[in-house]
């Protein structure tokens, strides 16, 4: 074939000229095309965020500030945080994989509100452009957390522009969540009862609940920061009558659940991967499904664990610590059930499965160190140090990023109609796993030794850990580049995948690869539970 399958399929059924082709993408209401728009834009943001991270890691090779000024360093880690959190991790899996797969998995023609879905992408891009403008016009130096009164009264950087970006992006998140909830409630194929749904759908349902309930709170908090910064209305700055800790409550009331917006869809992806490559129904399906809901609910009650040392009372510290400890239980349930799924399975070591196994290893470490942090006495020592940095990277990169890459590999043949190179896939999974651990494991050690986060220069004794970390991040960066190359090459040179390369029973595999505009030739009717694998 002279052209790629992706372009071939998505291009030929409507457009003949270049402008018509562009229009067919930018004005599309097809959830699959919107998912691909997200895929491209989210990966561009990921690369930018990754570049900022590289700058940070390079600066930290030596204890002195020699590569860049303190202001530049502060702008770099802020850029890294803002982009990765608001423009990669939060929208990542739901917008790309959720968008593409939810209608396919439940046997629907599209999401409930296709135009709203396109609007979500434009809001996402609008927010992203605000944030990038802020970076281009001089950057922002508040950290992605925008703590007051630094952000409202003291920072001399583009706080308003960046916050406007996150604010606008928030609406994209809310609309996507709304769309998913209604789609999952109203558009399931005949016979597809709640307990026949793939766990991917359960995870996205729980995620969407958080998105529509928590995002408005951070929108208000960010709006108030803008109001105080522009008009000096005293909300957070005590010098003009505000309360600086109020901001932290509002911010973490969203931003802690936001962590579950990042990890729950990842858990959904992992459930799919493990089921397919073990050729077994997920062990304890109901427990895994309800543990997602339990995490979503408990996630709303633990925001205070970011604030143990911020003047919180002893009693609130104890209550938040206790509830935080409870979050560990549904997370542990998932891990144990995934492991039990392997028992009597028929396992194949394909790239998505390698990523899934890597996810389990890294998520276990991320989760266990979360227990360290909910033991309040230990948290007092390690909060705001590299221990916390390592912990949330294990959860977000080790968890969400591994699941995202695993999911992209798994559904790549469905999305593009082409197979990627399996050998390179295995190599990339291994390189990412090794590079990741080398980057972030030393950070646990230096965090416990007392290395504070967001430090441009640091005492000599921490250098050895920083050097290890930077070396690891180089490997990790290469690990992320390898898939970018072979996945793009596969669009042209990959062999045709066929409709169901994994021989999986999910509805998404029962249609063409890539699927036609309205997904299914005939309305599918479901008569079995999910994961009804045929014996080989």
């Amino acid at each position: 074939m002279s052209t790629t399958a992706l372009i071939n399929h998505y291009a030929t059924n409507r457009a003949t000229t270049a402008s018509a082709w562009l229009k067919s993408w930018l004005l599309t209401v097809d959830h699959k095309r919107i998912a691909i728009l997200y895929l491209i834009s989210i990966n561009v943001f990921f690369l930018l965020g990754g570049l900022a991270a590289s700058a940070v890691r390079l600066e930290l090779v030596t204890p002195q500030g020699d590569l860049m000024s303190a202001d530049m360093y502060n702008r770099m880690f802020t850029l890294h945080g803002v982009i990765m959190v608001f423009f990669f991790l939060i929208p990542g899996i739901p917008s790309v994989l959720g968008n593409f797969l939810i209608p396919l998995m439940i046997g629907a023609r599209d999401l409930a509100f296709p135009k709203l879905n396109l609007l979500s992408w434009y809001l996402y891009m609008g927010g992203g452009i605000f944030a990038l403008c802020a970076a281009v016009f001089g950057g922002v130096d508040t950290g992605w957390t925008f703590y007051t009164p630094f952000s409202t009264s003291y920072s001399n950087s583009n706080v308003v522009l960046t916050i406007a970006g996150a604010f606008v992006m928030g609406f994209s998140s809310i609309l996507t969540g709304l769309n998913f909830i209604i789609t999952i409630h109203k558009m399931r194929a005949p016979g597809l009862t709640w307990f026949r749904l793939p766990l991917f759908i359960w995870a996205h349902y729980a995620t969407s609940l958080i998105q529509i309930l928590a995002t408005p709170v951070v929108a208000i908090a960010l709006l108030l920061v803008m109001v105080e910064r522009i008009w000096h209305v005293g909300v957070f700055d005590p010098a003009i009558g505000g309360d600086p800790v109020l901001y932290q409550h509002l911010f973490w009331f969203y931003s802690h659940p936001a962590v579950y917006i990042m990890i729950l869809p990842a858990m959904g992806v992992i459930s799919e991967l493990i089921a397919t490559f073990s050729r077994r129904r997920i062990f304890g399906y109901e427990f895994v499904a309800f543990s997602s809901i339990a995490i979503a609910i408990l996630g709303f009650l633990v925001w205070g664990h970011h604030m143990y040392v911020s003047s919180q009372s002893v009693y609130s510290g104890l209550v938040f610590g206790f509830i935080t400890m409870l979050v560990a239980i549904p997370s542990a349930i998932k891990v144990f059930n995934w492991t039990a799924t392997l028992y009597k399975g028929s396992i194949s070591y394909r790239t998505p499965m390698l990523y899934a196994l890597g996810f389990i290893g890294l998520f276990v470490i991320g989760g266990l160190t979360g227990i360290f942090l909910s033991v309040v006495a230990v948290d007092i020592h390690v909060t705001d140090t590299y221990f916390v940095v390592a912990h949330f990277h294990y959860v977000m990169v080790g968890g969400t990023m591994m699941a995202y890459l695993g999911g992209i590999h798994y559904w790549w043949p469905k999305m593009t109609g082409r197979m990627y190179n399996e050998a390179w896939g295995a190599i990339s999974a291994l390189v990412v796993f090794v590079g990741f651990n080398l980057t972030f494991f030393p950070q646990f050690v230096m965090g416990y030794l007392g290395m504070p986060r967001r430090y441009h220069v640091y005492p000599q004794e921490f250098q050895i850990y920083h050097v290890m970390s930077t070396a690891g991040s180089t490997i990790l960066g290469i690990g992320f580049m390898i898939p970018l190359v072979y996945l793009l090459l596969s669009l042209r040179y990959g062999r045709l995948a066929g409709d169901n390369p994994w021989n999986a029973p999910g509805l998404e595999w029962q249609t063409n690869s890539p699927p036609p505009t309205f997904n299914f030739e005939t309305q599918p009717i479901v008569t079995e539970e999910a994961y009804a694998f045929q014996p080989e």
């Binding site: 303190a70 009164p149 239980i329 007092i380 705001d384 504070p452 050895i464």
Partner: protein
Amino acid sequence: MQGFFLFPDQASTFAGPVDLLYFVLVMLSLLFAGVLPFVVLYLVVRYHRSQQVDRTNPPASDLRLELTWTIIPLILAMIVFFWGAFLYVQMRTIPTQAIDIYVIGKQWMWHTQHSNGKRENNELHVPIGRSVRLIMTSQDVIHSFYVPAFRVKQDVLPGRYTTLWFEATQVGKYHLFCAEYCGTEHSLMGGTVTVMSQSDYQAWLSTPGQVIMPDGTIQAGTVLVNTNDVPSKPITSSSLSDPMALAGEKLFTSLGCVSCHVMAGGGLGPSLKNVFGFDQPLADGSTVKADENYISESILRSTAKVVKGYAAVMPPYQGQLSNDQVNQLLAYIKSLSTRGGTAPSEVPTAAAGATAAPVAADLVAKGKSLFTKIGCVGCHMDNGAGLGPRLKGVYNSTVTLDDGTTVKADEAYLHESIVTSQAKVVKGYSMIMPVYKSQLKDDEVAALIEYVKSLGSAGNQP
């Protein structure tokens, strides 16, 4: 580059218990993170699709198994949680015998002030084996006071006080960090905490250094010492022997607070005796505990929480006092309460006492400046409209007292009226003047008397 370590220095009473708990957590984690990967590896190898193994009747779910791996982790989690909670409550329960040290954070510096007025920048000297309480606030953004070797950390907030305590166990120098991102030079906002033996600490306290004066200025190369008799043994509550409290009292007088906050009661503002540490009834019927936050709020935004029975007439001092000055007032107000903070032991008096006492050539000039400085002028107004009688021409005049008797205002009477002010109050005035007996030295009283004399005597007004 230095070597690879797993634990930081242990230099406080918290370090050991926190490290033990951390070590147990690491071991429990290894139990899961060390075993689980091998279980996974075993399963993925044994059940690889190429293996001919029994795959019949795979279990779909197993309630007993689910309950097992729910309940066992739950129990373990609760054990470590309550262990940590117990330790956390200890870390937040401040011993009553702690030494108070005031800390002010600002972009990008730490100021610390010891109770004798000695001030440090980016340094903190503490004695070994004594509980130290840090009373902290910020001038600008949020900072966080972090000493890894002590395993303590506490955010330092603008417009509010937070506290932190520790007891150092190991002599040495340790890192002091700012742990909450605070702007450009965040990573340079730190320094050292020096733990010294108790005798070294006493010696260090009495060496001249920077001192904050009552007017908020900083003087280098001097040391404030006690201006009145100090017990040479440790004292259990902060008192006027503590120069920082004394500085606060001077400020209290010079700002004129004293004219309303009459310690004997009856003033326009409440007496401040035994206020700190006690619950205060408010106008709306609620009560509030008078801690550092309440007192400083009542100074800076005075109308926010007015004590029941008083009108909101006090001017707000927001923007007029530095953090240092508010801290001095706090130290003074604490010294008036039996529940005040505690002072370090044995503030040395001898060495610098002589150097600090100014030798006044002109007693009248000294008296005049004292008269203004301690705030006499606020009540004893020239136009006669003050809370106290006008003093022009008083000397040697005949004064009518409350009970109708008269007395000649000679030096003895003036002395008595200053030192035990409420003994013989002039008719028409109430007994609101504070007693200066323990607060003024003899030569200061003499200077004041000379000044009053200089205002003219009966029939001989200048």
